[in-house]
């Protein structure tokens, strides 16, 4: 297994779909008209949209060829930090596609939807157990949507206390969605520097926390892949001033069965089912961002809520303190099915093992590569580790060059230039589903690239050469946007 996976092979050119269009083709068998035509007033109708006209094989070939230009978890290692690109089990897809789920109309009525409601209820309970909270909503459609739900809950809580607050503390390691979600609630973000160890210092929090501050948004483990060791003290400081603590649980994959964020004093936490709970990311979504809360915050959860009465399940909207509705129906049910199937397949021990092995893989990479790449925070990490390009700078090689060269070796690059606190960040999250052999191959690739940086830097600056296209001109793309064909 010394050969790297990256190689060249035959892929196909494929034009835009409309370039294949020929008048008169149609790739669907149209149903027979069994009722009379009922023409609408011509004043109300328009021309049919100019969609491509293709045969069924045209469509199949078009999208098959497009797919071959993509890299997915099924193609190879995808150590994209902060994104938890673990294996997406195929059985989950089978479960979600069952007619009883996929065919369910959202307004069929509770009596005819007991299976979906039971699944949602049980998934809420499982997530509450994993995170250590009293209540969970599954309604948010993605992580950022969960953050918004959580911030709305904090906002509603303060309103209920009789006095709204104007600020929110956000560490410099936070994901961009955190401050953007806070802004939507009208909160001003107070940027907080993390300490020299890459984690928050309680004193720094105490210095900015006041009675006009609604709370703090903390990602734990944080985006440097480090556990916020002072989380309990920080929560106490924020609580003492009447604030609440928001937890960004995007990195929950490091601590399932190890720590329950609810036990640490965090009041509200969102999860990403499309990270920790193995649902595929789909090249951009759909995800699902459940939110877990303490007992005191349950009244503020979005409606409708799923409740159990004896052995039947119902949807309840009559909650006077609720933040309201976040989604047209109940959230991304299809994604929930996959996460539920995952939890049942793993069991309690499997989830714990997943976290332990995710952390083992990340530390193994960190310790194997720290002589090759600069490691700004040389500390035991959780599920990911963050290097940078400080050592390659003298050869005029950047993180981006190394990332692009990894493509030629057959790996998806890590997350680059995030978190912002590390200049030229190169953030590696292998996840637990990568084997030692594949990780060793990745480590060897990075080492080989670091050597190339010294001896043949043009191999990096010209990379990638194997994919369908070389580096793309993003500057012109933004300067002269062409957003449609």
């Amino acid at each position: 297994m010394t050969r790297q996976p990256g190689t060249s092979g035959l892929i196909f050119n494929e034009p835009n779909v409309w370039d294949k269009s020929r008048d008169g083709r149609c790739a669907i068998s149209l149903p027979r008209a069994d009722v009379d035509r009922a023409p609408l007033d011509p004043a109300l109708t328009g021309d049919a949209p100019d969609l491509p006209q293709l045969s069924e094989l045209d469509v199949v070939r078009h999208y098959t060829r497009l797919s071959q230009w993509n890299f997915g978890v099924d193609s190879g290692m995808y150590p994209l930090g902060s994104c938890t690109m673990k294996y997406n089990p195929k059985t989950n897809e089978v479960q979600a596609a069952r007619q009883g789920f996929a065919g369910a109309h959202p307004l069929a009525g509770e009596a005819f939807s007991q299976g979906t409601l039971r699944l949602m209820y049980e998934l809420e309970q499982y997530l509450a157990e994993i995170t250590g909270y009293a209540g969970v909503t599954l309604q948010p459609a993605a992580g950022a949507h969960g953050e918004l739900a959580g911030m709305l809950i904090i906002h509603a809580y303060h309103a209920k206390q009789g006095r709204q607050r104007s600020k929110i503390i956000i560490p410099d390691t936070a994901h961009g969605t955190n401050p953007a979600s806070a802004t939507l609630c009208g909160y001003k973000s107070i940027n907080l520097k993390s300490g020299p160890k890459g984690i928050l210092e309680p004193d720094a929090v105490a210095a900015v926390m006041d009675e006009d501050t609604a709370g703090i948004m903390i990602t734990n483990p944080n985006t440097l892949g480090l556990f916020e060791e002072h989380i309990k003290e920080i929560c106490d400081i924020v609580h003492a001033k009447g604030g609440l603590v928001y937890g960004d649980g995007a990195n929950m994959n490091a601590i399932m069965g190890v720590v329950k964020p609810g036990d640490a004093g965090i009041d509200v936490l969102h999860l990403n089912l499309h990270k920790t709970f193995s649902t595929p990311h789909g090249g951009g979504g759909p995800g699902s961002g459940p939110v877990a809360v303490t007992e005191a915050l349950i009244p503020f959860l979005p409606v409708p809520r799923v409740e159990k009465e004896l052995d039947t399940f119902k949807l309840v909207s009559d909650c006077p303190d609720t933040i309201g509705r976040m989604h047209t129906f109940y959230g991304h049910f299809g994604v929930m099915v996959k996460a539920y199937a995952y939890i049942l397949s793993m069991g309690p021990r499997g989830l714990l093992d997943a976290s332990r092995l995710a952390v083992l893989n990340a530390n193994y990479i960190k310790d194997s590569l720290k002589d090759t790449l600069n490691l700004p925070y040389d500390r035991p990490c959780m599920h990911e580790c963050v290097f940078n390009d400080a050592r390659q700078k003298s050869y005029h090689i950047t993180t981006m060059d190394m990332a692009k060269r990894l493509l030629d070796y057959g790996f998806h690059p890590p997350t680059v230039y995030f978190p912002l606190v590390v200049e030229g960040a190169f953030m590696v999250e292998p996840t637990e589903t990568e084997s030692k052999d594949d990780i060793d191959q990745f480590i060897n690739a990075v080492k080989a690239i670091a050597k190339e940086a010294e001896s043949a830097p043009e191999k990096l600056t010209r990379a990638p050469v194997l994919p369908k296209v070389t580096r793309l001109d993003e500057v012109s793309a933004a300067r002269k946007p062409c957003l449609r064909g």
Binding site: A27, I28, L30, P31, A38, D41, L44, A48, D50, L51, V60, W69, F71, Y78, Q95, R98, G103, A104, H105, P106, S113, G115, T116, R118, E129, G176, A180, L184, L226, F227, K232, V258, V259, G282, G285, P286, G324, M326, H327, F329, H332, G334, L352, A354, L357, L360, N363, Y364, P380, L407, H412, K436, P464, T470, L472, A477, P481, C482, L483, R484
Partner: protein
């Protein structure tokens, strides 16, 4: 566990490299007091075949497991999904990729979404469509926020009460905390937005009207646009049934500034209401105000065409607290699904399917009328309409579900309390004349 590849030997070797002796040591930086002591209280793991049994049992507790005749729409529509759609979209290169941050190995997603953006702009007659949003309701709330940002002096959005009730609730959720307000515009006795009510209103940043509206009626968007213009406010339109644009004049032709829509009808299974597909389109003028991802065309270093995510200076990962939205992940795979569906049905198919939806709905309305229902309105509609039901209908409706797995309309009273005994019916290309005749016979 079959997803975990580590052998005992692997673990030993890897721990040695990290200088640890046990997996527990890896968590040394976590204070002991925080550690979970007794493990997780979750069910024991199931084998794949046990999981199949368990899931089928759950699925069978839903009536949908049997296949049912669906005369309900209201934001989730029962359209035929060609076999190639789930087949193609489940290709793992699409499904198991992340957001295309590395364009060189994401050209499939990127070209696919660029084509999606193009087809959506064609469908709606708009300049620009984004790479998707969560659903119509959240996209519409984002449009309201854009209008408020564009007009700093205003603090209200006027929303027709024939916008989907859930969408109005979402707008309310999004506007309230920042101190904005949603004001509702009532409807006329014909079942259309009473646009004249807007004329007397002040402090409004935008007008939101759904067409076809929640009652299924085609709104007079030209009249709405005129009033919006006279107030110098943004004109936002929304829709829940994307296939309507195969037949109706599109919102762009009426001068909509922003359009929010639900794309579930475009090849996406109902799945208990989600994930669907939020569509969001705007005029060129509003390009830099739009939320979320956009794909643009460019060239690579060899001069070959390629695609990238672009205009990201609007977005949270660059602008943080000043971003145009907090959205990060969207509903990308469903956007890809919609593009596949639109390519499959094509220009001919969309017209024919849209016309069939309308024809069947007209037929259904007429036979229900003969069966003793009373049309609540006399307005042009697409594939949904409101009927006042005869006295004993509630009982019969329940029997129809239990005996024939047939869902005869949606009770409107929970949404519009004044509309007791009124039901919203929907007919798509999937219902046959025979099923409609059966419905009329059973309820007569």
């Amino acid at each position: 566990m079959r997803y975990l590849p580590h052998t005992q030997e692997d673990i030993k070797e890897m721990l040695a490299v990290t200088g640890r002796t046990s997996l527990d040591d890896l968590f040394d930086t976590i204070p002991d007091a925080l550690k979970t002591k007794n493990g997780l209280n979750l069910p024991d793991p199931l084998t794949e075949w046990e999981l199949n049994d368990h899931m089928e049992k759950l699925a069978s507790e839903n009536i949908a497991c049997k296949g049912y005749t669906c005369f309900i729409g209201a934001g989730s529509y029962d359209h035929y999904i060609p076999a190639i759609i789930p087949y193609l979209v489940s290709r793992s290169e699409f499904a198991t990729a992340y957001t295309p941050y590395q364009p060189e190995v994401s050209q499939g997603t990127l070209q696919g979404i660029y084509e999606f953006q193009t087809m959506v702009t064609d469908l709606l007659g708009m300049d620009i469509a984004t790479a998707s949003h969560y659903d119509c309701g959240t996209a519409l709330a984002e449009c309201a926020l854009i209008a408020l940002r564009k007009n700093k002096k205003a603090d209200k959005i006027a929303v027709s009460d024939l916008v989907h009730p859930s969408h109005r609730q979402i707008i309310d959720t999004y506007l309230k905390p920042a101190g904005f307000k949603m004001v509702t515009i009532g409807h006329t006795k014909e079942g259309r937005t009473d646009i004249s009510a807007l004329e007397a209103m002040d402090g409004i940043a935008g007008l939101a009207v759904q067409s076809p509206n929640f009652f299924g009626h085609i709104e007079d968007l030209a009249a709405c646009k005129k009033v919006a213009d006279s107030k110098k406010i943004l004109f936002i339109t929304s829709f829940t049934e994307a296939l309507a644009w195969g037949l109706l004049k599109n919102p762009g032709s009426f001068g909509a500034d922003l359009v929010a829509g639900e794309g579930q009808s475009l090849g996406i299974a109902k799945t208990f209401g989600g994930p669907g597909l939020g569509l969001l389109a705007g005029t060129k003028k509003l390009m830099r105000d739009l939320p979320g991802r956009l794909v643009g065309r460019t060239k690579d270093t060899n001069g070959e065409d390629g695609y990238v995510l672009t205009l990201s200076t609007r977005e949270q990962h660059i602008r943080r607290e000043k971003a145009s939205s907090n959205i990060c992940s969207n509903n990308g795979l469903n956007a890809m699904t919609a593009a596949m569906y639109l390519s499959t049905i094509g220009k001919i198919g969309i017209r024919e399917i849209a016309q069939l939806n309308h024809d069947k709905a007209v037929y259904l309305k007429s036979i229900l009328t003969s069966a003793g229902f009373e049309p609540a309105f006399d307005q042009p509609f697409f594939n949904e309409f409101v009927m006042k039901a005869p006295k004993n209908f509630k009982q019969k409706r329940a029997e129809l579900i239990n005996r024939h797995c047939m869902f005869a309309g949606l009770d409107l009273a929970p949404f519009y309390p004044q509309l007791t005994d009124h039901y919203l019916f929907c007919a798509t290309e999937k219902v046959s004349r025979q099923q409609m005749d059966q419905l009329a016979k059973e309820v007569a």
